[in-house]
């Protein structure tokens, strides 16, 4: 069964550093998403992306965050200057069509630890 692949599985970074989280969505999917989950809390929507531009974003997704699909296969989330409160699990997801008609698939997540 096709999978959404996220790398790395765990990243530790110093406060103030830039990080890039990488995702390889399912190949024929057209819609891409990032969610985050602070430890012990609920999963929160960050951003959705379609046709090389952001479709929707939450209030969490401020100027420190950016997304990109640099080469037609990868989908990245960049945090420019990490803060302690950015420590969380970050999930990438993709779908073929506008959910929820098609549903979408989550990756296994990247655990980001900011120290």
């Amino acid at each position: 069964e096709p999978e959404v692949t996220q790398t790395p599985s765990h990243q530790v970074t110093q406060m103030g550093q830039e990080v890039i989280l990488r995702c390889v969505p399912i190949s024929n999917h057209l819609y891409f998403y990032w969610y985050r989950q602070i430890l012990g809390q609920k999963v929160e929507f960050l951003v959705s992306f379609y046709n090389n531009e952001i479709s929707e974003k939450s209030e969490i997704f401020d100027d420190q965050f950016s997304v990109e699909r640099p080469d037609g296969s990868n989908f990245t989330l960049k945090i420019r200057s990490t803060k302690l409160e950015d420590s969380a699990m970050y999930f990438c997801a993709s779908s073929y069509g506008v959910y929820p008609n098609y549903g979408y698939t989550f990756g296994s997540g990247t655990r980001l630890t900011v120290v």
């Binding site: 609920k42 999963v43 929707e56 698939t105």
Partner: protein, 115 residues
């Protein structure tokens, strides 16, 4: 604003027994979808079951079924013949029809299965 509430932080069930996880939501939309996601210790988000709001029939998926009470805005998950592998966090989620990815999650219910 839409909200999703899971009032049971933790639940426990004996292997082979049945357990019901509760979820309520609030929305003024008529076109929406509801989901249950499972998050095992590996932290991956796995879709268990989904329900279209316009469908009166409750969704079922093998041992998993829902009790969708639209007027009461209730969406409970029933797990029959519980197995050890069902032990996980379960998240209820709401999605507005036609939107591009903004799933709203509840805080989750941690399910333990006793052998």
């Amino acid at each position: 604003a839409q909200t999703v509430t899971q009032s049971q932080p933790e639940m426990s069930v004996q292997e082979a027994e049945t357990v019901t996880l509760s979820c309520t939501y609030d929305t003024s939309e008529s076109d929406y979808y509801l989901f249950w996601y499972k998050q095992p210790p590996s932290r991956q988000m796995i879709l268990v079951i989904r329900q279209e709001a316009y469908k009166q029939q409750n969704a079922t998926e093998n041992r998993f079924s829902v009790n969708f009470q639209k007027a009461a805005k209730s969406f409970s998950l029933k797990i029959s013949d519980s197995q050890l592998g069902d032990a996980a966090m379960y998240f209820c989620a709401y999605g507005k029809g036609g939107s591009q990815g903004n799933l709203i999650f509840g805080k989750g219910t941690k399910l333990s299965v006793k052998p």
